[in-house]
Subunit: 303 residues, 2 copies
Amino acid sequence: MAEEGKKEVWEEGSKKIMKTYLDCLPCFLNQALKTSRVATTDEKIQREVLDQVMENLIRLPLDASPPRIAQIVYATIKKITGTGDPYSAIKKKQNELALNFYPEFKAMVRNAEDPLLLALKLAIAGNIIDFGVPKEIKDIREEILLIISSPLAVNDYLAFKKNLHNAKLLLYLGDNAGEIVFDRILIEELSNLGTLKIVFAVREKPIINDAVLDDAKFVGLDKQVKLISNGSDAPATVLAECSSEFIDLFQKADMIIAKGQGNYESLSDESGNIFFLLMVKCAIVGRHLHVKVGDMVLKSNLK
Amino acid sequence: MAEEGKKEVWEEGSKKIMKTYLDCLPCFLNQALKTSRVATTDEKIQREVLDQVMENLIRLPLDASPPRIAQIVYATIKKITGTGDPYSAIKKKQNELALNFYPEFKAMVRNAEDPLLLALKLAIAGNIIDFGVPKEIKDIREEILLIISSPLAVNDYLAFKKNLHNAKLLLYLGDNAGEIVFDRILIEELSNLGTLKIVFAVREKPIINDAVLDDAKFVGLDKQVKLISNGSDAPATVLAECSSEFIDLFQKADMIIAKGQGNYESLSDESGNIFFLLMVKCAIVGRHLHVKVGDMVLKSNLK
């Protein structure tokens, strides 16, 4: 699907942002089915969700980033199933599961030749704790060990270290529940560097399995850093929807860490000293980054 | 998705047939996108196809087998793209590619300990030559060698041999272009058994990459057996749409070989001495057969 030489970015005024592709339409329908099954066992309601999501998608302009369309899809699911947070129990399980890993991975980072690099790779690998039913604990642990044994497919580690050296205020944009435990390990490493002030941002309201304030507190991040909500319920950082408090921080921060595909899709062409940390989970994002699905990315947006 | 204990068959009067699942809806949309990209490079037309297919799918009763819904989807693609046979060039390439393999696999069957079993496995493995852009020749050859080195996940070989022993008229329901070269190798083995009369059936009109009469002739099947069209353009054998000549043969045949998922989906509860030969390509069919995606199936419908 990538061979046809399509434009990989969409021009919005003077900006290039990740647009939504035709490939995203069946994917949204798949996500809607998956989520409606989490929300209800009633197949009639699941079907109603799919029908309504298709109604939404028909002739919907694709000149927005995928997370904005995801908002429409998830609002439909909420309306039809009557459930605003279908992933609540799953998120709890993902947080607990990741906390179980904490001691082992924390020790691994402490004993690593380059603790910061390993902590970064772990924070990226933690991004595999994906929405949907959690896998077996053993499987996730092994998957993470496998991922961190691979090199970064996009590796701006040197730029990351250089920027970190000069940074005083770092804004860390979280992504999923569970994954935030790995963010905590990275944040602990960053905190060791001295006077850096770190603010950790989460979504305002539950969407998919994205972390909200309660999740961040549950895994102990409130003890490490200041927590804020970004003011939006997009599964991403859609600045136009974020609170003024968040925007203020976004502009003031010397350095921003943005976790996961959603944050990449929504911020890939924003100005600011952003480092994107993500696992590539779909071919469209992979094409945009010139890497493969399953690759680990640590990318500076200044290049 | 299979854990929820859903009914795996749908009751239609006294019959159990494979119905269409909610999972099939995003899959149809994916197929429509794939095919519209084969038919045209114009993204506006591709989008129009997706929109129209979604219009078709909304509130469409799912109490038909997937191939019947596929007919609706492909009719829409034809109408909007103006192309009735988008896979024409791909089918030709698939036939040529498979003919290149013929000498090697034919020799392998001749030298096998059990030539009939190997020919059956090859005919099943040939079912991986799927719609869409053909893979590299080397990849396909290696994939087939890998597949035939595995055991059959459903293995009714003994019943197959027993039935073959008593059969005089065998109806062979073909599936894809390319794959029919492997059917030819199996048919040559079956022909060695003596007085068995074999009729090979194809679709009436092009749909996806399913074989039609021209394909069967191109790979030399006309020199081995009598060829007929089934009279329908479903990517399957939907008896209600087949010609009376075909139905007559279907009823008279002592034994029927039905290749591929489409034939399984449409005939899984028909009476008749049918042996299904297929690679399992989707989780829904896998669930119905209690096997995994990628498994090889040789299944009698009499059990």
